[in-house]
Structure formats: structure tokens, C-alpha cells
């Protein structure tokens, strides 16, 4: 349903076959319990191919799914191997314009509503946070998308994006904003033309007017003393980041996100990530082709009529 996850390694027919092996359903459930990332039957083959790549690695060298599951649950191995598997699952997900349904929902549902609501009080500022921005693909996508709305929905509006990541090198790369073909494979031509200039070796460099909308900083989401200062957000994006946290930290971090949002603010996770049992204050909201979470407002949220 939601935006596509593009596998970096082509899957083989045998992976479709293996997806019927019940052991992968157990791995699927284990991954969901520990990370919150879910593989529906339709996407199970992606999990199978991620497992296979790990199983073929020198460190693991597991001959069967069953052996691999044993490793994933055995003390001493499970922490590191779970992390490696998650890396393998989310690899290839970092690209610009990764989730089109999310952007469509922003454009057609969320922004019009926000604009109408704020218009009433004449407060035309939008604050966005990309938490765990990795090498910048997500905040740049949002900045370009919002700039594109400046002539339309967001006429006379100001917006700013906070982009944070734990990793210094990622933040550095994000600031540079240089991307190759693979990273821009989903980027519509019009955005490529308007918001990039040509760089070395055929790469594309994000233009300064886009960079000016974003503040990149290093931030540890577990650092409570800094988390409390990220106030007043309208939209928070945190894709494929919480999956690496244990339940207790997940709960704490999500609670911070909740507090940092304005009333009626929106919280977005990666495709197929869920907050089930992590937080019960956020409300799950269905949008065409995607889901998001929403903070309660001062007035009752819209129910689902019709």
C-alpha cells in the first residue's frame, strides 16, 4: 500500500518460494516485536532476501532459515545480529522522494487543513523536524516539496526544517547535499531541474536556497536534556530510526516527540513501521495509501464520517 521499498538486490523466484517457509513468519514476528517494522505477506520476500544476504555473510554462515532464527535469538549474538539484519532490511530505503503516498497526503490533506486552521489566527509558520535524517535525503525532500508549495498552498508562509542525526559523518554528508543517480532515482524531473545544480562526476548538488531552509545538527534522541528543547513542531518525521531502539528508549523518545508537537501535530514513521504498544497517546490516522500518527488537539480530532 504505502510507498514502495526498493530492494537493492534483485530477489529470485526461490525467495518468493521461501517466503512460504513458516520460519520466516517467525523471523517476521520477531523483527516486528523488537523493531516495530512489519512485513506483510506481500513484502515478506524482501525480509527473506535480507535474511539470505545475512546468512551468506562470513560472520553468520547459516545454512537454513531455522539456523538463522536460532542465531537471532541466542544470547551473545542476538543484539548485534538483529542490528545487522535491520541494516540489511532498510538498506536502499534512503533516497529522495522515497514515500510518495506520504507527500500526497501532505499536499492534499494535511497542509490544506493546517493552512486553513492557522489562517484563522494569522500564524503562518511551519516547523518541521526530520529526526534521524541520515545523509539528508528526507529533509531535502521535504524542503523541496514545501518550496514547491510556496507558490500555491503555502503562499506567504514561512517554514523551517530541523534535521538531526546521531552520526557526525552523516550530518556532514547531509550538509554537503551531493547525490548520485541512485539517491535521486525517485526524484521527479521538475525537482531535479529546479533544486539541483550539476556537480562533479555527474552528481547532483542541492541548491543553496534549499539548504537555507534546513538546520543540520548532531543530536542523540536519547539525550533527554536536549530533546526537551525541540519544541513547537508541526510535523515530525522519524523513519527507520526507532527500529534500532529497545522498547524502553523507544517509549521515552516517542514521548518526547509527542510533547514537542503542537496540538493536532503529525508524526510520521517509515513505511510499515508501527507504534503499537510503544505509545497510546498518539492516534493512528489513515490517509490514502498510508498511515500517520497525530497528537490530540484542543478541539476534538476529526472522526471518520462517511
Amino acid at each position: 500500500m504505502a510507498g514502495e521499498v526498493i530492494p537493492t538486490v534483485l530477489t529470485t523466484p526461490s525467495e518468493k518460494e521461501d517466503a512460504r517457509d513458516p520460519v520466516y513468519l517467525r523471523i517476521r514476528d520477531l523483527v516486528y516485536q523488537t523493531s516495530g517494522i512489519y512485513h506483510s505477506e506481500e513484502k515478506l520476500y524482501l525480509l527473506v532476501s535480507a535474511c539470505k544476504r545475512r546468512m551468506a555473510s562470513e560472520r553468520v554462515a547459516a545454512k537454513s532459515g531455522r539456523k538463522y532464527l536460532e542465531l537471532l535469538t541466542s544470547p551473545g549474538y542476538k543484539e548485534t545480529e538483529s542490528r545487522e539484519l535491520l541494516n540489511e532490511i532498510t538498506i536502499g530505503e534512503t533516497c529522495l522522494f522515497r514515500s510518495q503516498p506520504q507527500l500526497n497526503a501532505l499536499q492534499n490533506v494535511i497542509l490544506p487543513e493546517l493552512v486553513a486552521e492557522r489562517g484563522k489566527i494569522g500564524f503562518r509558520r511551519l516547523k518541521v523536524w526530520s529526526a534521524g535524517c541520515s545523509t539528508g535525503e528526507e529533509p531535502y525532500t521535504l524542503a523541496m516539496f514545501l518550496l514547491e508549495q510556496k507558490g500555491k498552498l503555502l503562499k506567504d508562509w514561512e517554514f523551517s526544517i530541523q534535521a538531526t542525526d546521531l552520526n557526525d559523518r552523516s550530518v556532514e554528508a547531509a550538509r554537503a547535499g551531493i547525490y548520485g543517480d541512485y539517491a535521486v532515482r525517485n526524484t521527479p524531473e521538475i525537482y531535479k531541474r529546479n533544486y539541483f545544480s550539476p556537480g562533479e562526476n555527474g552528481k547532483l548538488v542541492v541548491k543553496d536556497e534549499v539548504k537555507a531552509k534546513i538546520t543540520f545538527t548532531r543530536l542523540n534522541l536519547n539525550d533527554d536534556s536536549r530533546m526537551v528543547f525541540m519544541k513547537g513542531m508541526d510535523l515530525i518525521f522519524c523513519c527507520n530510526v526507532l527500529i534500532y531502539f529497545d522498547m524502553a528508549s523507544k517509549r521515552r523518545v516517542v514521548q518526547h516527540f509527542y510533547s514537542n508537537l503542537m496540538p493536532n501535530g503529525w508524526f510520521f514513521l517509515g513505511n510499515a513501521e508501527s507504534l503499537y504498544q510503544v505509545n497510546d497517546q498518539f492516534r493512528l490516522v489513515h490517509l490514502p495509501g498510508t498511515t500517520a500518527y497525530r497528537k490530540g488537539g484542543t478541539e476534538p480530532g476529526k472522526g471518520g464520517m462517511a
Partner: protein, 308 residues
């Protein structure tokens, strides 16, 4: 709806019954649906399914779809009835009957879209019913399948006006029911329940047809209405709606239907709705492939259809 409008609508629906494509097995099948499952004779069902060869062939193809979770394909109708159960085969037969009933006639919009939504909603309702341990999952399927019977009525009875309604709803991304009220003065809930009543559908199912967009005013003691309302919304937001995106956000847990259904199936409140939504990803392509495979194939159908 004014009484004039209602009378006009009734006459249109009456007129539908004389459609040349109305299959002979529809009436006896509707009678069967009114019986308690344990009163139904297996032979009678096999006989009905076998009566019309186009319908029989479609039934077998549907029965062999992954949506029905069969491990091995079946080639005989008897085997399908035995392994899927009488009720499920009745549902399949009804789907094929309705398809035949409405084919070969002028439609507003794309009939395949209607079938995808109807079969999708049926499958989602059954899946939801099973997850929340709803007392009658098979009834959930039938109710999901028929909930938009009125869209079929409107498409056939008012092909031109309804084409405009569909086009307007699509252009503005608004729910069909709102556009119908605006342009026609009545909705598919009303037209569908008139046909449902003349067909003497079980009351619980006809309530779903009449109230799935208006759960709060539904007759008491019928959780099916709330269940189908939820299944319908999920389908429409998962790409199995009426061929366009409805630009809106829905918080299901704040929907009156949610509380209503939870009264009967308390497990609903503990259900992992996010995971259920992801699981629908697998249902959507199955439904699309099934409907395209069974209902868009032309050659073998044409021999039976001869509207004069």
C-alpha cells in the same frame, strides 16, 4: 428523500428486475440465503452452481483464488463446495450472479472498479471479523460483498446521471455518498436497500446496505453495520475504492462505528490496527488479479449473453 423521489426510485428498481441478463439461478439462490446454514442441502448448492456454465466456470476460478486460502486447486464444483463450505460457495455464486445480472447493460463508470471494491470489502470484512473474533465471520463477508448494492443500482438505473456523479466525486476527491446526495438527492444506501428489500435479503445484510454510511442511526443489535463501515473505509483508503483517492484523514478509533463494534467484539480495542492495515497490502493485489482474471475475460462469456 421526498416521497416523489422515492416512488421514482422504486419504479427504477422494479424495472431492473426485468433485465434480460438476470440469471435464472438468482432467485433460488436468494431463497437459499434466507435459510439457516444447517438447513441447506449440499446437492442443491452444487446444482445451482452447475446450472449456468459461465457462472460455474467463474465460481471455480474464484474458489481457486489465493483469497480463499486453498492449498490445492479444485476442478469439480462438488469438491469446491465440500472444501470451502456451503456458505462460502453461496457467496461466490452470488458474486457471479450479480456480475451476470449487471453485465451486458450500460454501466456508469467502470464495472471492474465496483467488483474490486465489493470483493475487497468482503475479504477485508471477513479478515477483520476473524481477527476480532466476531461471532459470524461468514456473514461479514456477505455483508461486505453486498454493502454497495446501491452503487450497482445507480449505475444501471441512472447510467448517465451517475456517470456525472462519479466524475464529480473523482474530480474533487470526495466520498461518493456526499456527491450522490448533492446531485441526486438520494444515496446508494437508499437505492440499494430498496433492491435488497425486493430481493428479501436477510435483514442484517439489508441494514448494512442502508446504514453503512450512517452507523449512528442503524437499528440496534446489528454490529455488522459497524464492521462493514470500518472495512469499507479501510478498503477505500487502501486503493480499493471507486477508482480515485478520497483526500481525507480518518481516525478510526474516534469513529462511532469503532465503539459500537467494540461492544460486541471487545478484542477490537486491543487489535494492532497498524499491522492489520499493512496486512491489507497482500489482499489488494489478490482482489485486483481475481476480478481482472474472472470478470474482464470476454470470449467464454459472450456465448451466454444475448440481450434482445
Amino acid at each position: 428523500m421526498s416521497s416523489n423521489l422515492r416512488d421514482g426510485l422504486k419504479r427504477k428498481v422494479e424495472h431492473l428486475r426485468t433485465l434480460p441478463s438476470s440469471p435464472a439461478v438468482l432467485q433460488p439462490l436468494l431463497e437459499l440465503l434466507r435459510l439457516a446454514p444447517d438447513k441447506i442441502d449440499l446437492r442443491k448448492v452444487v446444482e445451482l452452481v452447475s446450472y449456468d456454465k459461465t457462472i460455474a466456470a467463474q465460481c471455480l476460478r474464484i474458489a481457486n483464488s489465493p483469497l480463499y486460502g486453498r492449498a490445492r486447486p479444485t476442478e469439480s464444483i462438488r469438491a469446491a463446495v465440500v472444501s470451502l463450505g456451503i456458505q462460502r460457495v453461496e457467496d461466490i455464486l452470488l458474486t457471479c450472479c450479480l456480475h451476470k445480472f449487471s453485465s451486458g447493460t450500460k454501466w456508469a463508470g467502470d464495472p471492474l472498479v465496483f467488483w474490486k471494491h465489493s470483493l475487497g470489502c468482503a475479504a477485508v470484512c471477513r479478515e477483520l471479523a476473524e481477527r476480532i473474533e466476531f461471532s459470524e465471520p461468514e456473514k461479514a463477508y456477505l455483508a461486505g460483498l453486498l454493502h454497495d448494492l446501491g452503487v450497482l443500482v445507480n449505475s444501471l438505473a441512472y447510467p448517465e446521471e451517475y456517470s456525472k456523479v462519479l466524475a464529480e466525486a473523482k474530480a474533487h476527491g470526495v466520498p461518493l455518498v456526499e456527491q450522490e446526495m448533492k446531485d441526486l438527492g438520494f444515496t446508494h444506501c437508499e437505492s440499494g436497500s430498496i433492491l435488497g428489500a425486493t430481493w428479501q435479503l436477510p435483514k442484517a445484510v439489508n441494514d448494512v446496505i442502508a446504514y453503512h454510511h450512517n452507523v449512528e442511526n442503524a437499528p440496534e443489535d446489528n454490529p455488522l453495520v459497524a464492521l462493514v463501515h470500518i472495512g469499507d473505509v479501510l478498503c477505500r483508503l487502501a486503493g480499493l475504492g471507486y477508482g480515485y483517492e478520497e483526500w481525507r484523514s480518518v481516525e478510526l478509533a474516534a469513529d462511532p462505528a469503532w465503539e459500537e463494534l467494540a461492544k460486541y467484539s471487545p478484542r477490537l480495542k486491543k487489535m494492532d490496527l497498524a499491522r492489520f492495515t499493512f496486512d491489507l497490502e497482500a489482499i489488494v493485489p489478490c482482489v485486483q488479479a481475481l476480478v481482472e482474471g474472472v470478470f474482464s475475460a470476454k470470449p467464454e462469456h459472450s456465448e451466454v449473453e444475448s440481450p434482445s
